[in-house]
Amino acid sequence: MAKVFTANRLVDGAVVYLDPQGVWTTDVLSAHLLESDEAIEKAEAAGRDAVARHHVVDAYPIDAELRDGSVYLTRFRERIRAQGPTILFGTAGLKKKAA
């Protein structure tokens, strides 16, 4: 199965993905879909390097596929991690209840 490389950004913990230019982005749709062993190995090296240079923490590969032309994360946990909580929270939650 294809992979995407993910991590958390050191300064704020934000969820980030490795893009085709080797830049860490918060936009999962810009993530590099790694479809060969060679591409995965290269991303692993980039992840190790970014950890070593203290840009990100906990870099790891996750299962992904191309669905309707976009990167789709196959694990539910990773989709929540990418999109945020599935529930309204903070003042948004209150506004919804008031509506």
């Binding site: 050191l10 300064v11 913990g13 934000a14 969820v15 599935t86 003042t91 939650g93």
Partner: protein, 551 residues
Amino acid sequence: MYQYDQYDHAFVANRVEQYRGQVSRRLAGDLSEDQFKPLRLMNGLYLQLHAYMLRVAVPYGTLSSGQMRKLAEISRKYDRGYGHFTTRQNIQFNWIKLEQSPDILAELASVEMHAIQTSGNTIRNTTSDPFAGAVAGEIDDPRVWCEIIRQWSTLHPEFSFLPRKFKIAVTGSEDDRAAIKVHDIGLALRRNEAGEIGFEVLVGGGLGRTPMIGKTIREFVSQRDLLSYLEAILRTYNLIGRRDNKYKARIKIMVHELGIDEVRRQVDAEWEHLRNGALVLPDEEVARIRAFFAAPAFETIETPVRSYEVARFEDQAFARWTRTNVAAHRQPGYGIAVISLKPIGGVPGDATAEQMEKVAELAERYSLGEIRVTHTQNLVLPHVRLSDMHSLWQALEEAGLGTANIGLISDIIACPGLDYCALANTRSIPVAQRIQHRVDNIDRQHDLRDLSVKISGCINACGHHHIGNIGILGVDRRGEEYYQITIGGRADENARLGDVIGPAVSYDNVSTAVERLLDAYVQERKDDETFIDTYDRVGLKPFKEAVYVTD
């Protein structure tokens, strides 16, 4: 409330500066994540699913209005305008930036708060009865003893690297509102035949993947011996508790494997060395701490309070709220008001900055500036004049805090689950919301009487599912969210673990399964029986048959 002295202030301020240096070295690349992680965890900073999460200790669930305002300010300035009150009487902020975390700790220190020992294999925040010092019939105020335990256990050098985390709870009432039987150590204040105050000590309770009810290790430990006896338990555990397997490292496993009699023998042997040493509690020190918790100057009020009774008669919604959310106070003319953080469709335990500020304001106006956090993720104003209760409730209603559901089915404990937590397998919060929507009619909820629903998104059981009348545990089934249901658990002085009713049900079917349990209860109950009473009388069978009925 306890007030920091110059040593406490200096200690916490020093700790903030140490941490600031550690963060600065981490950001400069002088510390690796492996080196830094234990340091941030010692200051309550976790890395969760979406961001860093800061867990702040609320010692034994007691907050001043000033502290609550500071928590509101922190949530607005450094987070997304809300906070989450937890089952350990703490508060968590979910969207924290590492680079700002030292500033947050400095802000907390300015109101005598910190995040020390909210993580790691240490003695965590000692929890207690949220009605402490307010409820009638207490043997003693448990907060006095919680504070003494806090001072003994904070940065205790011998117990900073225990085999696993360690949780202590204290109750001063016969009615246990602190779930002491599911803590590593539970302390129940008792009087002996001579009328002296001491403690029944329970050990080895806990939830998680191997739930256990605590066992009494000693019927009565005197006040003077409390710390030496606790130290003897902790030392025994520290020496022989398992370190080879994280899942077998809690003291409950040690008690289970050795048996309570053997643990007692070893603790007593250790205690012999300790009991007449430096840990003997001097009366004057107990008196000094006790003075911080002296009862406020209550007014003498003639009862019944006519205005309160009239308001209850004239305003049905208020009357309903008083039935569930107001508890009897030790002082005539006063009541204990519980503020529900469980509105239908809300996130259990969450409060916005505005709500926290409103609670602070109402605490100042109506409750002598005091607030409590409950282990069921609600808030308490402990000292409210009954004559003020109607005004208080109206103000709470306006702020979305007036839900009349304490102890009812919609007063659900739910862990953050997969919406926030890096350990979770499934979501908890939306399951709670779906169940709440099923029973959103408040009259129906009142008709269902006391009924606890507790939901955990994984086996670690932060949502206390084992001790819910209805317990729900999320499990991952090949990437799908499934939920195992237990019934018959209880968290009070008769604490008991629930029984699994059958195969796990899918996310879409959980609220239907709960609805069927409710139908079975209504069908089977007699007179004023609660869900748990009915379950005790009729057993699992009718409930099981109701849930697994073939349509």
